[in-house]
Amino acid sequence: MNDKRVEAGDRRIKLWLLIVSLATLVMLLAAALSENIFPEWRSLQKRYAKILQEKATDERGREAADNFSLEITQLVLPELGAIDRCITCHTGTSDHRMEDQPQPFTTHPGKYLQVHDPAKFGCTVCHRGQGRATETKDAHGVDANWEYPLLKTKYIKSSCSQCHAGQELFGPKSILSELDEVDEESGKQSSALIERGRKLVDEKGCLGCHVLQGKGGTLGLELTHVGDKTRHNFDFSHFERGEPLEVEYWHKKHFTDPGAVSPGTSMPATGLEEPELEALIAYLLSLRRSQVPASLITSTGDRSPLEDSGDRLYARYCSACHSSDGNGGGVPSILTPSLNNVDALAVASDDYYRFIITHGRSETKMPGWGDGLGNLSRDEIDKIVKHIRQWEPHGADVVDVSTGQGDPLVGSSYYQGDCASCHGRKGEGGIGNSLNSASFLALASDQFLAETVIRGRPGTAMPSWKHLPARAVSDILAYLRTWRPEAPTFSAVRRAGRGLARREKIRTGKAIYNGNCSACHGKKGEGGLGLRLNSADILGAVGDNFIYSAIVNGRPATAMPAWRQLSAEQVASVIAYLRSWQPYKPRWAGRPGQSSNDYALGELHYRTSCLRCHGEDGRGGVGPQLANPEFLKTVDDATLFRWIGRGRSGTAMKGFLRREQGPTTLNPAQIAEVISYLRYLGTRDERPVMRTGVGNPTLGGQLYKGNCSSCHGVEGEGGSGPQLNNPTFLESASDGFIAATMVTGRSGTPMRSMVHGQEGLAQISPEQIQDIIAYMRLWDFPQTWLRSREVAEMSERAIISGSEQYTRYCSGCHGPKGRSSLEGSAYHAPALNNPEFLDAVSDGFLLATIARGRSGTAMRPFGHGAGGIVSLKPEDISDIVSFLRTWSRGRQAPKGAIR
């Protein structure tokens, strides 16, 4: 810098200082004048005195007007710690004569002053503003620096919440409504505005992001005392020049265009129009701490909690993001999954939802709602889960499902589209169990299959298929049934029987019997888990077609499988062998008496005489299941009469006719009525699940641990074998189904026979099977469900292969490390790598979701033949799950896999 420039600079500074000093001097003078000689209140009081004089009608009035002195007046409010000088200008508030005068002289409207003595309450407690100020602008807090500007008339009621709450404030009988006048514009009481606002907060889901009175999401700021916030708490920096810097206006703008007020916010535009906006603002302003001492509060309004049905809770806490109809995507800036997606509902258990709601999903925007987070109670969370569940289709009624009505061709279309990716194109199994196993199909009743399809197996990879109509389920069942072997007809069996020598038949029949039947029915037909056969009352009483039908069609839902794989010769041989014990001797055992065929009467007899053994509705117990359609189809009335009347020798079934040893006595007419009741049970569509309840669970538990737990898990949670302690499995599987599976094993799977004498794994007797079943029936689901997730194979091979598959097919959407939200917006699918999700989700959930995808979303099916992005083999999908599991807490990934 050269010297000349320095000189020029100095001169400029001097000149500048001179100007500044002069300006300051002038301003100081002006301020002094304004402050001392022309205060605003003086002129107002002068005008008021004039009005008083005009209004004065009598001497006293005139005198009062004359004596009106110009001075600052104030209300001293020690209880509130305030001094209100408002009445310095608002001189006529208590004077009813001033009703026709303009502000600031007019009378206070409404009846408020009658209840709220100004001397006690002052003005600012309701109206806000600066009590001590003596200039309009300051007193009203118009300028941006005052904390609490005067409340606008329409929002004044928001001050009431300081003292009043609950019923007093809201509802048709609120105290406000009594004091209130009707708003000219809306024709409604102005206090209704706050109530409307409260409803909006409740319905629009504001509390999904904002905490109010201890409950709510944590994405946004807390609302509990938002009404106390001054304008210094709000950011006006993005407002345009000329826009009012008012809290109300800030709110209004924030509700209509949040991004313009706070750029980058996740807050969505509310889409509300004018009257609603006002209501919402009024309510927010009413959310204030009570700064009024208790001595001033005369009424203690009950702060009754908001109503909390599931839909209300959902609307309040969830709807903002997941939208009121569960469609998701309510907030554009947040990735919110739809909750009403059929595919998601089919795989997610209630526990899953409960867990995610309670704990949230870290690394996503989903906050937790449990204690210390959103503070919802368990009960409330349960209600929300229930609300989410109601979006699930009801599911077809099992009663409407019937294989006979199904079209296997149509069923194959459904099967290939929905089932094949897990169960294999021909039912050979994969992620799911093999279905084409002959022994499985022989045992599984229609009811069992239908319930499994419709209700799925929560927690496992078997989703529920509730969107399928009954007809479609029937079609699928009919298709599954085409995998059963073709059964020989009775006439073919008869023909075959005639073509063989008797000795030959007996020899073959014996071999077949010993191999297949003896485990349940005893070596010599003496019975065991199955019926005693070797009795004149049984074999002697029934014809060949009865035996044929029992063998070939089995007894659905009991332990008696359908032995359809036997050839005509083999069936004939078995029949011949059985006959070698007891020939068919149809003996007339008396005949049913004349009866009214009244099954209602029959039911009465049934309840007194039969129920104890044969169970409710004939579903079986100690005695065999009676309401079995296959049984009732082939047995004739005479045989039934014989069995009921005379009993079955060698079994617990005693005769009920007089002179027999039955526990009660029935006359022939009554027996006929019982029979008609049984016939009625046969016509009813429901097929009750047989529960015997005869085993000893304690013994069963030991047996289970010794023989079953290595495959099915210590508590039936599943392992290499399927999960057993699954609620829908235990509800839909009959005792017979379980028993027979243990006895016969399941061909095509590692499940071998468990029975002594068979070429099985264990040496369990039929009685012990009953014990195991009794033990299984004790399982309680909710505690054990979550454990069922640990089925993925955690071998190094599986994890490395899974990591390759993941990188190729999943990372594009879920991010290379499953942390979509952390790695830029390009990854748009939900983050998988968060502990809460991985804790809540079962392996089955993951398997099923990968295999079948989620319709309507970007998650396409990856299962083989599902026509998605790529056809992955079941092993590949299972490997991906193994890899995902390496992200679970406490897991260690082997080298070579991305972590």
């Binding site: 002006a30 301020a31 502000q103 118009v142 290939q416 190729r808 959407c813 390009a826 026509g867 992005i869």
Partner: protein
């Protein structure tokens, strides 16, 4: 309460002012400083290999999924579906997700020049054509090669006239390149012999649209799916060809249970997928060639049984011509029974009267529902299988007829929507990159528009007028001209010859004779076999950018990293984008022909990469295109207004909106992303050219398309017998383009190119060996695509897609397999009258030969053509070249060949 008076000064104001004064005093000594200029972040990022994403349309099918190319610096590393793109909404199929895999593979690095070139001016035919070994080529610097090509081409033009030079473009080139290639041929060289691979893909739909609506391109959008009441697919295996489209339909069907129809000879994945959602309202016409008849039969049932679904006479009179003749013809000749008995030879009663009636009932119900609610109706898709017929144009017209009759157009949720194979086939159509077309849906014969385009191209109007008079019998006929010596030289840009039919006896002989200039990215591509001068190009994602238009008229950017690389990460400094190659050729050839190159091509190289390469900016060309679109029915000039008013660049507008659907003629329309639907005065476009149908009278046209095999199938036999003469001898006549009457006859009766020996097939005593011995061809053979592979070049070089479907297969019905003793997985040779290929037998959906998705009907074979050169491009080693077996006969109007009905036999290997 408003304050009326304001004190002049109060305490606060005083303080404020005083403060202000003091602050002013304090600030004055500050001297103005200099702002530091930040370095361009992009450059820094490139140098450090920073991660970033580029917007692009997927390079495979015409659905046009928004794909984000992820890059590290300027190296492409992956593809992510764009969740903000309205087409795919964050979903993508396996091809697109792995579109980066084949990029840095087997790259051509230098300009190669064949040592022994074919020279049309001397009549010399190269002896090394058909080989691509290193020893047949010399490397040559780019400028030298450019000079050589310009010299040769200019000589050919001077000696034989402009029309002796041809060009084969591509539906994968950017719109900008297509504009330039068309300018090169029609504006500079003066040739009408310009074709593209889009010819084999979409032109039946194009010409059908022109015939019915008067203008090309689907009038609908993808968003119509989610409003439709019934969706039909014709010759379209959407689940494999356009998966994202299928998934949207399937999701919607799952949700709303709408009826669907698929017309396809095979039980494709599409058929099965829809059936697995609800088999009871999913219909399948297993027809080989009967689509026209069945569409007419549906019309018959609607006219006779559901007349309430037919649009009122008043409406038809107002909006359409020719409907009375159509209705009369339908009623006389197209009852379901008549149709089924006529088609018995090819369809073997696979379609039943009940099916037709059920579909017609659904169609009528959906139409009524749509009309009543003002939203929805029948939405129809068709694909390449439907276009590739001798009567492809009639196929399209038949669909539109039925839609017009039932009023399924001009409304949300219904309409006709053809699907393209190529990602940018729409641009090829719109830019007029085909014989006799001008940009923006106008023929060369439209003088007014021709002059307008000539001015935009900065070439002489008179020259264009002369060009308009030249003839070229479309892609296949062009090859015949080549064989005959009428076409002397050709350019091949971003495409190879193997998509054309009859490769062995027609296409390759033609290419051998011609002087071929090729732009190619791979070193071992079929182009290398017949190219005389081969320029290395850089491809999708690597280029400098450009635009694609997908099937719902959405113009969308395809950004690139502006550099190519080989598998060793070496930068391909010799390679350039196709756009640059095309522009350079325009310049050099124009100069040789004595034109003012600088005036025609004013573009400057303004893009520079860090490796010293300079490129033209495609946005400059794009701007010219947008300006030229003004006043057309694809008017995009609103984008210019947006640029002017909002200051957003043209490409940037496309990026922000994820594409603009043409037309977008005004600021408002362009700013909201264009026009989703056309015609019928939607969007209140009363006075705009696309408000109404584009025929002079503003009405749509009905045309009854007939299908008749004659008494006892006599016509069919006559015509197919005649067709067998073509392609019988390699490279020799007769020439089909000189026998247009035969093509027209085949078209008018809706026939097929070949008829298998059905008597032989039905003779149960005859086996495979007998067929060879007696030279019989008992099977129908169809060629198409498979999900994992799409084009020939790229997916076969992708590791993932090759892993999924690694080899050539032929689908066969289980009964045929059993009868001829063929086993699943057995290797066989499929033989036709012209050539053969090898494949593995794949029987049914449980075949272990991947992908095993479809079931062919009895007597029908199917192979994908995408794997044609996957084993080797070298003819000596290539066993999979399926298009060598196809027949050349084409639709006389649309120019598409029928790849779906070839007579074939199977031989054991």
């Amino acid at each position: 309460m408003k304050k009326t008076t304001k004190p002049i000064i109060d305490r606060r104001n005083f303080l404020k002012w005083s403060g202000g004064v003091l602050a002013a005093a304090a600030t004055f000594p500050l001297l103005p400083g200099e702002f530091a200029h930040a370095d361009t972040l992009a450059q820094q990022g490139l140098a450090s290999g920073a991660k970033r994403t580029l917007q692009a349309a997927c390079p495979y099918c015409g659905v046009g999924c928004g794909s984000l190319i992820t890059c590290e610096g300027d190296r492409i590393t992956g593809i992510i579906p764009d969740k903000l793109h309205p087409t795919n909404k964050g979903v993508q199929c396996i091809k697109g997700l792995n579109a980066h895999e084949p990029i840095y593979q087997d790259r051509l690095t230098h300009v190669l020049v064949r040592k022994d070139m074919s020279d049309p001016t001397t009549g010399h035919v190269s002896a090394t054509k058909g080989r691509f070994d290193d020893d047949v080529f010399d490397k040559m610097p780019y400028d030298e090669a450019e000079e050589l090509v310009a010299e040769k081409m200019a000589n050919v033009v001077k000696q034989f006239g402009g029309n002796s030079v041809g060009l084969s473009g591509s539906g994968q080139l950017t719109m900008e390149t297509q504009w330039i290639e068309n300018l090169l041929l029609k504006g500079i060289i003066g040739s009408n012999s310009i074709e593209a691979n889009a010819r084999m893909c979409m032109t039946s739909a194009v010409t059908g649209y022109f015939a019915s609506y008067g203008s090309d391109a689907p009038p609908t959008s993808y968003e119509d799916i989610e409003s439709a009441d019934m969706i039909t697919f014709w010759g379209h295996n959407a689940r494999e060809a356009h998966p994202v489209l299928f998934w949207r339909v399937a999701d919607y069907k799952k949700k709303n249970n709408i009826p669907t129809l698929v017309s396809d000879p095979r039980r494709t994945g599409t058929v099965q997928g829809l059936e697995s959602i609800n088999p009871r309202n999913s219909y399948h016409f297993a027809t080989l060639n009967g689509d026209i008849s069945y569409l007419n039969a549906i019309a018959y049932v609607i006219l006779t049984k559901h007349p309430e679904a037919v649009m009122p006479e008043k409406w038809l009179n107002k909006n359409a011509n020719g409907w009375k003749e159509y209705v009369a013809g339908i009623k006389a000749r197209y009852s379901p029974r008549q149709v089924i008995s006529r088609l018995k030879l090819v369809d073997r009663n696979r379609v039943s009267v009940q099916q037709i009636e059920a579909v017609a009932k659904h169609w009528a119900e959906a139409s009524l529902k749509g009309r009543r609610t003002g939203k929805g109706g029948v939405l129809t898709y068709w694909g390449i299988g439907y276009n590739q017929m001798l009567h492809g144009q009639h196929n399209t017209i038949s669909i539109i007829n039925l839609h017009l009759l039932t009023g399924n157009l001009g409304r949300k949720g219904c309409g006709t929507h053809s699907q393209t194979g190529q990602p940018n086939a729409m641009s090829e159509r719109l830019m007029g990159g085909l014989t006799g077309r001008l940009p923006f849906n106008q023929p060369m014969s439209n003088e007014k528009w021709r002059n307008w385009i000539a001015d935009r191209w900065r070439v002489s109007r008179e020259g264009m007028k002369q060009t308009a008079l030249l003839k070229n019998p479309m892609a296949i006929g062009m090859m015949e001209r080549g064989c005959e010596g009428d076409l002397k030289a050709m350019f091949w840009m971003y495409t190879t010859h193997i998509h054309l039919p009859d490769v062995e006896t027609l296409v390759r002989p033609a290419l051998t004779k011609m002087f071929c200039v090729v732009q190619e990215i791979y070193r071992h591509a079929p182009n290398m076999l017949y190219g005389d001068v081969i320029f290395p190009a850089i491809t999708w994602g690597e280029w400098t950018g450009g635009t694609y238009i997908q099937s719902e008229r959405r113009v969308y950017v395809c950004d690139g990293v502006s550099v190519g690389r080989d598998e060793h990460d070496n930068v391909l400094t010799e390679a350039r984008p196709d756009l640059d190659l095309a522009i350079d050729k325009c310049k050099s050839i124009a100069t040789k022909l004595g034109l003012d190159a600088a005036k025609i091509i004013p573009y400057k190289k303004t893009i520079e990469n860090p490796y010293g390469q300079k490129f033209y900016n495609p946005e400059d060309v794009f701007e010219d295109i947008i300006i030229a679109s003004k006043g057309s029915d694809a008017d995009l000039s609103g984008m210019l207004e947006v640029r002017e008013r909002d200051g957003i660049g043209l490409y940037e507008q496309l990026r922000r909106l994820r594409g603009v659907q043409w037309p977008a003629p005004t600021y408002e329309v362009a700013a909201k992303g264009g026009t989703p639907r056309r015609y019928m005065h939607q969007e209140d476009w009363k006075d705009q050219p696309y408000a109404n149908f584009r025929h002079a009278d503003g009405k749509a046209r009905f045309k009854l398309c007939e299908q008749d095999y004659g008494p006892g199938n006599r016509y069919l036999k006559e015509v197919t017998d005649e067709f067998t003469k073509y392609g019988a001898k390699k490279g020799e006549g007769p020439w089909l383009y000189k026998n247009q009457n035969l093509l027209k006859r085949a078209r008018d009766l809706a026939l097929v190119p070949e008829l298998p020996d059905i008597d032989f097939y039905e003779n149960s005593r005859k086996g495979l060996a007998d067929a060879t011995k007696e030279d019989k061809y008992p099977f129908w053979l169809g060629l198409g695509i498979v999900y994992e592979h799409f084009h020939t070049a790229k997916t076969i070089r992708g590791a993932t897609t090759m892993k999924l479907v690694p080899e050539q297969y032929v689908e066969l019905h289980a009964k045929d397999a059993a009868r001829y003793g063929l086993e699943d997985g057995e290797r066989v040779r499929v033989v036709t009258r012209r050539s053969s290929y090898e494949a593995r037998v794949s029987v049914g959906t449980s075949s272990f030969v991947r992908p095993a998705r479809n079931e062919v009907p009895e007597g029908y074979l199917f192979s994908p053509w995408n794997l044609s050169v996957a084993d080797s491009a070298d003819p000596q080693k290539n066993r999979w070249l399926v298009n060598a077996v196809s027949h050349r006969a084409w639709d006389p109007v649309s120019g598409q060949a029928d790849y779906k009905k070839i007579a074939a036999r199977i031989e054991r290997i």
